[in-house]
Amino acid sequence: MTRRRILLSVLALIIAVGGTLAFKMFRPAPTGTDFARTRATANGLYTVAIAPEKEPFVRDALHSWIVTVKNKTGSPVEKATIDVGGGMPQHGHGLPTAPKMTAELGQGRYRVEGVKFSMFGWWEFSFAIKAPPGNDTVVFNLKL
């Protein structure tokens, strides 16, 4: 064994240990995860955009999001009802609260209240949309 090789293996060890620790601490979402806040629904019926009602929002306190729903031609979808879900795929648990759509604000905009993200990390935030054009779902990824 050369001195170089020993030093290299020691270095490799440090990197390996450090790397695993960092990985364990903030397990990132799988590479290629799309964090866009505007997405098409699963069956392509709608384009949905989400934004916190107030920026910056406090992750671990109750807050609201505005969900904007448009149809294929880009016009706002009225009279939708939206069910909200989500969770942390890496921890196998859902949202800590049960957010609900509480108001239709016009121009395809809906208020979702009661949102809270109790941990740092990768969250899924999902919406099931029921509206005259049909039912469809969309899942967003958030990095908090």
Partner: protein
């Protein structure tokens, strides 16, 4: 010769490795990411005490002083021997060092420490109360705690504290002509007596009862978390200063902190400056033989919604839009089976035993549980087994001990 050189080389590179780690400790023992999380756990990150819109007296100093008296007053109990302070001993972090609380009878859960609880939205291990004032009403009518009933309690206040009470809350009127033991949740006799009261009398009793809770809660809100060695470490670490003696961490404590943040995933649930996320988790706690089955939060979901003393009830001072935690609470019975609130880990090492029914006598036993992550007796544990060496376990315990003044 060759061998000698190699050993020497190995030894010198080991020395270099250790020096590198120690050097790192003198400058920054933590990575940037770790430092960022440490800052969120330190007392300095504690926000101002959140207001309690359901209790207009929450921050009234005179009401708090009255509440402090009630907290220690044994005349509020059936046998004249039990006060809140019987189980929540002020000199013992407001808990009693027992696996299960003992008063008029023996309870089914461990007494919780009280410092900083006002920052959380839910009270009790299963969070069956959504305000501190409504929480305080529970033990007063609990048959194994104070063992009293709301009508007797309001009469007790009228006898011993009428003037103080009326100055703070207004006249105590519409009480029944004579004191009776009456409550909608008590013994059969107490429930019959309650049914015999007029609606005006019931409302007057309920209002007086709620105000007792509001006074005790105003006192409860003054119990704040204390500065610990960990906070001093975090503060000097954040400023990049070389730590003063009382803030310095040993190698083992640093290692424990890193495990807490990293491999242990402890901050998944023990987050924020109170080291709790205030939500409910099944951590596979063993059931205690001899105790009735305990379903945790799943079994209290209905009761929370139906509680006349909740945030949306007639005795709450909040408007419905201020009751978000209640209106948007999770109803997921499956996920909430045997789910409990993580207590604050501040000062945890000096108040064994641990967990909702005192399941573990020591922190070593707690860590062993997290390492093995056993199946839950009901529902599903969120824990995954951890590969922790003896050294790792000792380091985690050493870190938990830094959460002391």
């Amino acid at each position: 010769m060759m061998l000698k050189v190699s050993t020497a080389l190995v030894r010198s590179s080991m020395v270099a490795l250790v020096a590198l780690m120690m050097g790192a400790c003198d400058r920054s023992p933590l990575t940037t990411e770790e430092s960022a999380v440490v800052a969120t756990l330190a007392l300095g990150a504690l926000p101002a005490l959140p207001s309690d819109p359901s209790n207009i007296y929450a921050d009234n100093k005179d009401v708090a002083a009255f509440g402090k008296k009630l907290f220690g007053d044994t005349r509020l109990s059936l046998n004249g021997k039990v006060a809140c302070a019987t189980c929540h001993l002020p000199e013992r972090q407001f808990q009693d060092d027992k696996p299960l609380a003992v008063a008029v009878g023996t309870g089914v859960r461990r007494t919780m420490p009280l410092a900083g609880v006002a920052w959380g939205p839910w009270f009790f291990w299963d969070g069956r109360k959504d305000s501190q004032w409504s929480q305080a009403l529970g033990p007063l009518e609990d048959q194994v705690e104070h063992g009293s009933d709301r009508t007797t309690l309001v009469f007790t206040i009228a006898t011993h504290y009428r003037q103080t009470y009326e100055t703070l809350f207004g006249p105590l009127t519409d009480l029944p002509a004579v004191a009776v033991a009456a409550s909608p949740v008590g013994t059969i006799a107490a429930r019959r007596a309650w049914d015999a009261l007029t609606p005006a009398e019931r409302t007057a009793i309920n209002r007086g009862f709620a105000n007792i809770g509001k006074a005790i809660a105003a006192h409860g809100r003054t119990l704040k978390p204390e500065m610990t060695r960990f906070d001093r470490f975090a503060a000097s670490h954040a400023q990049g200063n070389s730590a003063p003696d009382n803030a310095r961490f040993t190698q083992q404590e640093i290692a424990g902190l890193k495990l807490f943040l990293g491999k242990g995933s402890c901050t998944n649930c023990h987050s924020g400056p109170r080291l709790t996320d205030d939500h409910f988790h099944n951590t596979g706690m063993p059931a205690v033989p001899g105790l009735p089955p305990d379903g945790g939060r799943a079994t209290v979901l209905k009761a929370i919604g139906a509680d006349p003393f909740n945030c949306l009830g007639a005795f709450s001072d909040a408007t419905p839009d201020q009751c978000g935690e209640l209106r948007f609470m999770s109803q997921d019975r499956h996920a909430l089976t045997r789910a409990y609130k993580p207590p604050s880990l501040r000062r945890v090492s000096s108040r064994p035993p641990y967990m909702h029914a005192g399941q573990f006598p020591t922190l070593d036993a707690v860590i062993a549980h997290y390492a093995s992550a056993p199946r839950a007796p009901a529902g599903h544990s969120e824990l995954k087994p951890l590969d922790l060496s003896d050294q790792d376990r000792q380091a985690l315990v050493a870190f938990l001990k830094t959460l002391e003044p």
